[in-house]
Amino acid sequence: MRQFVRSSRFLGLAADLQGSETDRARLLVRLALAFAGAVTIGAILFAILSLIGIMPSSLVATTIPIILIVVIIAGATAMAVRMGSNELATSVFLYGTLVFVAALNYMAGGITGPAIIGYSFPIVAAGMFGRSGDVVRLFILGIIFYLIAAIGEASGLIVPLNITDGTIRLISFAIFLVASTGLIGYLALIWSSSTARFVAQREAQAEELFRTNQRLMEKNIQQVELGSDLAQSASELLSSSHEQAGGATQQASAVSEVSTTIEELGSTARQIALAAEQVAEASQRTLENLSEGQDAVDRSIQAMDRIRSRMQDVSARVLNLGERSQQIGEIIDLINDLSDETHLLALNAAIEAAGAGEHGRRFAVVAAEVKSLANRALAAAKEVKGVIAEIQKATNSAVLAAEEGGKEVERGVELAHSAGEVMNEIVMVAERTAQSGSEISLATAQQQSASEQVVETMREIADVARRTAAGARQVQDSAQRLTAIANRLHGLSATDSGQRR
């Protein structure tokens, strides 16, 4: 559109180029100066010819008003141009020149004088500078002036000045002819140069117009291509907006699901926080119980140490008892030997008593008693020995049991120490568990808070997704309208191109 306006403005300027007021004013001033120059030169030439005697001396006085009139006409024209009134300047110059030509004819021999040729100048100048009616008006006005002068001269009312004949007339005619033709030639020169410049300007304008038209066509082609691209882009935009709307809807649905999941996660985090608090409390109670258990283990270790000491004492005592039993057994063996020996002695005595006959009967009775006592002692010793053997056996068993008990006590002490170490480790683990429970509780509380924030954010995202979906639908509508506009533009451009062809 801007290109079109620019082209219209150019066409207007091209049409008014030769008729430009500035140009015309400039040419008018130059023409007026040329006219004044030519007339002044002619007047001076006449004055010189008069002074040297070739022309009548009366012409000298005539030249002064002629120069003054010409100067006035040229000065008024230039002043009007300077004032910006070109139309006034043109009228002053054309009609002033016509009046001057009429006056010059009067002063230069009348209608049959050499200045009659001067009427052609203002008419020709009006053809170049004047408006459409100036030529006619100047022609008619010139005819009128000529007829008035002719009638006046024929009736004797007007008597022209400086009527000459012969050589003087020829010289005068030649001077006027040269001046008139020179001015007309100058005018033609101005006209031709102006016409040539005008033609050149028109050609340049035409060429510029052609180039502009060509660029306009290229722009039009680009516009058609842009319309196609626009249609394709609009189609792609429509497809993208379709996908965007679908994606936004899916995103909103997914965000809703995620929000639900996060809410469930937050609920689970609350449960975990509650469970973690319970774990922390249980760990604290466990820690307290473990402290009591540790004290119990320490006491049991001390008790086991005491038991070990007692067991060692009992073992030593039982061992001592076994040694005493051994001593008793040795004594019993001695008694046994003595009883056996007594038994054998009593038996020998009884045999000897029996051999003594009646005299040894009392001795035999005593020997029998001794033998009986020895047997009883032997039996008692045997029983005691059995008892001692049982005692020794029991003592040995007790010693073994005491040693086993001592070993068991040692193992018990080791186990108690191990239990104490395990209790220490359990205490450490329980402390760590309590600490971990507290940390888990804190972390789950933070997680719960974060979940709530995430839920809030997801709600905002869902809202944004819904707005995005709505925006995508709006974009879809806009894309459809854009497609329609592109199609219309494409059709319009195609029609315009067809018309240009």
Partner: protein, 137 residues
């Protein structure tokens, strides 16, 4: 007079007259007390002699001293139980005694409802002395 003796597992009867003494033999000194410089006593485990399975543990024994002409024999038994003045001795049947190579058992004693073999300890000592190697003798 009959004397009842007991080995590790059995019980025998002997005649008192076959012995010179009965005494406790617990140590080597006890055994040495029964010997002389020219006639050292020979200790014999009577239970093991009569029955190899009837072997007693070493330790305190009762020694039955049988005086032989060259050396005294000390039969070691577990215990000399008692003496019996009046005892019924049943002699061995002729068929059995005729089959014996050495007549060590001369009869059977019925004591406390138990039949106990009566040994001829002097014959046992002689046979043991005769069976011993010359160097040992």
């Amino acid at each position: 007079m009959i004397v009842l003796i007991s080995t590790a597992t059995r019980r025998y009867a002997i005649r008192r007259d076959d012995l010179t003494s009965m005494q406790v033999v617990a140590t080597d000194q006890d055994l040495a007390s029964l010997s002389t410089a020219e006639r050292p006593a020979i200790p014999i485990d009577l239970g093991a002699l009569l029955d190899p399975a009837d072997r007693s543990a070493p330790g305190r024994k009762h020694g039955l001293v049988v005086p032989l002409r060259r050396r005294p024999i000390v039969f070691l038994v577990e215990r000399v139980e008692q003496s019996i003045e009046q005892a019924t001795i049943r002699p061995l049947p002729t068929l059995i005694s005729g089959c014996l190579r050495d007549i060590w058992a001369i009869g059977v004693l019925d004591f406390d409802d138990q039949l106990i073999i009566l040994l001829d300890l002097r014959a046992v000592a002689r046979s043991s002395m005769a069976q011993r190697p010359v160097a040992t003798r």
